[in-house]
Symmetry: C2
Subunit: 406 residues, 2 copies
Amino acid sequence: MSTPDGPTDLAGMRERNLALVLAEIDRSQPITRARLAALTGLTKTTVSARVAALTALGLVSAEDPVRAGRGRPGAPVSVASGPIAGLGLEINVGYLSACVLDLTRRVRIRRSVLRAGAGSDPDRDVAALGRLAHAVTGQARRAGLTLVGTTVAVPGVLHGGAVNAPNLGWDALPAAELLAEALPSQPLPVTVDNEANLAALGELWFGAGAGLGDYVYVSGETGIGAGIVVAGALFRGTHGAAGELGHVVVAPGGPACRCGGRGCLEQVAGLDAVLRAADVPDTAPAGPDVRDSADLLGAGAAELVRRLEAKDRRALAAAKRAGEGLGIALVAVTNLFDPAALVLGGLPARMAPWLTPHITAALEAGGGRLRGRTPTIWRSELTDGAVLGAAGEVVARVLAAPSAVA
Amino acid sequence: MSTPDGPTDLAGMRERNLALVLAEIDRSQPITRARLAALTGLTKTTVSARVAALTALGLVSAEDPVRAGRGRPGAPVSVASGPIAGLGLEINVGYLSACVLDLTRRVRIRRSVLRAGAGSDPDRDVAALGRLAHAVTGQARRAGLTLVGTTVAVPGVLHGGAVNAPNLGWDALPAAELLAEALPSQPLPVTVDNEANLAALGELWFGAGAGLGDYVYVSGETGIGAGIVVAGALFRGTHGAAGELGHVVVAPGGPACRCGGRGCLEQVAGLDAVLRAADVPDTAPAGPDVRDSADLLGAGAAELVRRLEAKDRRALAAAKRAGEGLGIALVAVTNLFDPAALVLGGLPARMAPWLTPHITAALEAGGGRLRGRTPTIWRSELTDGAVLGAAGEVVARVLAAPSAVA
């Protein structure tokens, strides 16, 4: 338990104390320096020096002093709502999306571009993400914000620095490297992560996640993925590829999947499969469809929901098939992970009223008797959880290593 | 980081130090008191007092003193190979098994009773386990051993203190309570745990587990279960029911399962299903089949393996069907958990040469392209992993709370 404190470790210790003080401000704001000293165990002198450094970095700001009794006024500090901010990006088959969060985790900018069906040109994808990021960075600058880092959500598996995203046509794409060139220059390195993982974190930080216990978040558009949250943190597996729910086999010998298997869940419950089964055309936007909202629902999915509401027979049959497939996959999830809750996000959240009865029936039959209980099914209220989680991840990185923003 | 050290906490601190010293002896034995003081950070006086207490409890014994240079001879101590020992018990459809480990984790007694097909009389099961435990306790006494605790492996799910084990006909059975009455009286409370969990720990402590990274251990007899090891510890899920691999659906709409679902893995790859498909009669032992070995293979399974070796057409077809079912379930495991290894234990280990090709093919097809790698498949060399793990669990409890054996 000894702390290295030789001269060579002084910089490291300062950085640790900086992060310690910032994390405590984040948890307990507004908070006085005296209270910070009490909570962190640091001396008041150290706290004052670190607060001054955090203020100089633009990470912390002083509130109006509060006069406590007759003494010197306490000078509470809070995490600054500017200028430092983080950029979340998401690319999926049907859209690109961006979200800017300041360090108080308030959404300052949302922008999405809906696009037509499956892309299969990684260069074009990277360039399009770069254009969106440059546009949003300009908008942020005009709002007085400085973007210090970017996390990008992708519908694929990270594999030794490269990304396999069959639905985008990305095959071992060195995405972080390519994006680093295409995106505006920033002090923090570009991070790429699986969209379901980031959406699960989005639910934890901005949705209902913190109150659910351990949960498995089901995310879906063309592909289907899951983010697994255990004890408030992502469960990532040995190689970072845990939660590939879309490739659980639910129809043995069924339709071929881009992963190389057959009868995978996403061939039954993914957007393309459901639209095909419901005979809904996945129309491309007529012109540029740019939105400043959290609504990422494309024309095909919107039409599907309309037909479900109108009790269209083919749409209902497609939803039933998707719900039964999800039921089989979520029985596997429940039997293997025994989570407290299952969270439906993305397309499954939009289709929840028509999917949930089938999922519930499958869970009650499949092992429900054995376990004596089934997990709670929660429909996410966030419609852009992945890009929110991506931006939140940048904020988390700033809090963990504050001086990196300099 | 302050340690409570008021008079009321003195007993607690002594117990913690006792466990600390014993754990260090277990890790580094034989070890001198001086080295123990250096490694634990306790004073030599405290170490000597705690070693004396552990010796009085029968948990630690002195080795021959080693003369280091000219000084006083060091007096190394080790964990005692007697009299204190732990009892592991296992009940499964086809057998009861017992194993005694001393605190050095050496197997001192093994005894199993093979029995005919599915039992469905919990009272008879509990009584039979009690008789086996009494017999083994007598045998242990004659060998100079004192059994201080028992852990019982069951092929079922624990659910708020009760056990659901459909293949035994146990429905919410308060097993620990009933067993506490039937077993010989011991200082530690009776613990009941899932057999796959204990077999996974058996592999970790006595098999290849420690070198595999995170793994999912597949255990099976009539039922099929999995024990999930993450970072050297069991992953148990929210309600302790994680790893119910046998109820992953591999044949949607397929045969009804005792869990209430249809097409569960154990209806395709469990012992009864495989024997039925291979047309092998599951004959009861003609007389009492009591064994003092680690071999728990019943007559039916033994006959199945003989026919597989003889390339019997029906047996090979049954193994193919089981292997394909396991393949589908293990694709789900791999996609969801992303483990470094899959360990085959129990019946799947016995059938490994005939199952593994199908499992490997399924893993390579199903998402293998997406992830770029498939987990290692390891065939357990332990044939009684669950009962070994059960006895090991008692040893672990003694090490964690040494004075409880008094």
